[in-house]
Symmetry: none
Subunit: 154 residues, 2 copies
DNA sequence: AGGATTAAGGTCAGTATTAGTCAAAGAAAG
DNA sequence: CTTTCTTTGACTAATACTGACCTTAATCCT
């Protein structure tokens, strides 16, 4: 965690954890000022880290009294939802999609940081040893690994 | 006698030994500079010496604030033998071979009966959904699943 | 009421900063 | 002498950050 974007991400996640309602409202200009950066940096952080795919919902309004509201999607049964996500993986999966899934599961405490590390490493290694059908193999591996983990830990 | 790659390998391993967390983070450009070589030399060292097979997990990020993080996962002796078996899996694996491996690991109490059942089911499912390269996919899946299990339970 | 002003946030393209890939050249080993 | 391992560098890809310009909403002022 060393870039400005990482710090802003951590800050927002901390606020979210401290919130009863699983959502926080903030001022873009204020936050940018706190971190001594341009306001568009906040948009960068939001669009790269707080995406729907990772389980976040961002709303905003412009003009006087404008705001940015970030919500963390909480499902009743995180485990069941995770299985659903896995089932929705098609026959192919690119690296970005994989990372989003892992980030989602980590943020919802269904995987540890170490799990993610290992999974990424394993998949990277296996996918790297093949010249064709990388995305297909990745889909298969992620589906299998995550399914196994979720099944054995539930 | 010892090549540059060997020195870089030794240097990283020394850093790892000195780390509480069994992982180190470094800058590719910085390390290359320290050893007066091109940055891609670092990639060479990583890909030839810090492989998953040897118990290392390498993560990296490009761009501003980029890094390379190397983690070491130790395994105790009981598992080390299982890892050896995994290494012996070639690029292809038929059903019979798979069953033999699973049976062996179950007999030696490295996997539970449920693990085996689950793994078998998952592999069958994935392999069944593909028309070509079944044996290749099976090898990849078994290697990955077993590797993950062994690494996380040791 | 309605235009002018003020106060937000959004977009996008450009620049900077890393790391990855690949193939060819060179060195070492068998 | 052949094969395998090492080293290099040109090209590629990903990520972070900035600033100029745009859009939307509330409020003020006649």
């Amino acid at each position: 965690m060393s870039t400005l974007a990482d710090h802003i991400e951590a800050y927002i996640k901390k606020m979210l954890r401290g919130s009863q309602t699983n959502s926080v409202e903030l001022s873009r200009a204020q936050l940018a000022d706190d971190f001594a950066c341009v306001p568009s940096q906040i948009n960068y952080v939001l669009s790269t880290r707080f995406t729907l795919e990772r389980g976040y919902v961002v709303e905003s309004r412009r003009g006087g009294g404008g705001y940015i509201r970030i919500g963390h999607v909480q499902v009743d049964d995180g485990y069941a939802h995770a299985i659903k996500i896995l089932k929705s993986i098609g026959s192919e999966l690119d690296e970005k999609q994989m990372d989003n899934i892992l980030a989602y599961l980590k943020d919802h405490h269904l995987l540890t940081a170490r799990d993610c590390q290992l999974i990424r490493g394993i998949v990277q290694q296996e996918v790297g040893s093949v010249t064709q059908g990388k995305a297909i193999l990745r889909a298969s591996l992620i589906r299998s690994l995550l399914f196994f983990i979720l099944k054995t830990r539930s």
